[in-house]
Amino acid sequence: MACVNADGTLTPIAQKVLSALEHPASVTEINQRSGVPLYRVRASMRELADLGMLEEVSELFYITEKGKNHLANKLP
């Protein structure tokens, strides 16, 4: 997994992507806010959505409570 380490913590890329979701944002806005390359934002969003850490509504991405907990290192 490119977003989660073996110990369950978030990788630096995943942390940057989720941190850019303080407010709901599009893929392009996350790319601009985080500095993470567009292709890695898209790949990370896909993986983080599968893990239930973010949700997409009308092309805007929202961080979920699970995502916030992971970002704060409060693992489930």
Binding site: M1, A2, L38, Y39, E47
Partner: protein, 233 residues
């Protein structure tokens, strides 16, 4: 049974045995058509071609990890990466090696050459991507990809291909020049002459009517003949 040749090798569709690999169809992508789609395991996680939408992409293959010519090429690709980024271009490598081999090789390059490989590398053990892009030339090798370069535009259209043999390392300045030429042509509606480089005169498209040909002399271009006119950008 192999689905392609019908032999009794008793393999499933994900089999990597020599028979199944030899029987998988080899595609040949075509210019100005959508680049073959893929989802692949890479050193940066699972990536799809569509992840690159909005960026130019240089997809390139190399024969094998931990080999001498490929190592010099990876160092050279890493060196031009900042120039590619200025042009809105991402890099994506590929070979028929495992992701663990890729990781070990990339780490070895960093250790030996003090240069970080900033781009992902596809681990194409199934040969799905390499066959879709015609990267395997059985006359050269059935188990290695040759040195291919595919330039894919921000809409996913294949715009250029270069094929090199195993023994010839690629010229990075030519790859940059090719991208400059494509982007200049797109932006200004012109063509570029032999050995063109940014700053040189570009070629004005030839007129398509006899009337246009007659007017061409009076249009202020660097005029050789009605069909060959250049201008500065």
């Amino acid at each position: 049974m192999c689905k392609e040749c019908g032999c009794g090798c008793n393999c499933d569709e994900n089999c990597n045995c020599e028979c199944c690999q030899n029987c998988k169809p080899v595609g040949m992508p075509r210019l100005n058509e959508p680049a073959p789609d893929f989802e692949a395991v890479t050193t940066h996680g699972t990536l799809k071609l569509s992840d690159y939408e909005g960026n130019w992409l240089v997809l390139f293959s190399h024969p094998a990890d931990f080999t001498p010519v490929c190592t010099t090429e990876f160092v050279a690709f890493a060196e031009i990466y900042p120039e590619l980024q200025k042009r809105g271009v991402e890099l994506l490598g590929l070979s028929i090696d495992s992701v663990y081999a890729h990781i070990a090789w990339v780490r070895n390059i960093e250790e030996k050459f003090s240069i970080k490989i900033p781009f992902p590398v596809i681990a194409d053990l199934s040969q799905d991507v390499s066959r879709a892009y015609g990267m395997i030339m059985p006359g050269v090798s059935k188990t290695e990809t040759i040195r291919c370069v595919f330039v894919i535009d921000p809409k996913g259209i294949l715009r250029a291909m270069i094929y090199y043999p195993l023994t010839t390392g690629r010229n990075m300045q030519e790859i940059l020049r090719l991208i400059d030429s494509l982007q200049t042509s797109d932006k200004h509606g012109v063509a570029t002459p032999a050995n063109w480089k940014p700053g040189d005169k570009v070629i004005v498209p030839a007129p398509k009517t006899q009337e246009g040909a007659e007017e061409r002399l009076n249009e202020g271009f660097d005029y050789t003949d009605w069909y060959l006119c250049k201008k500065d950008l």
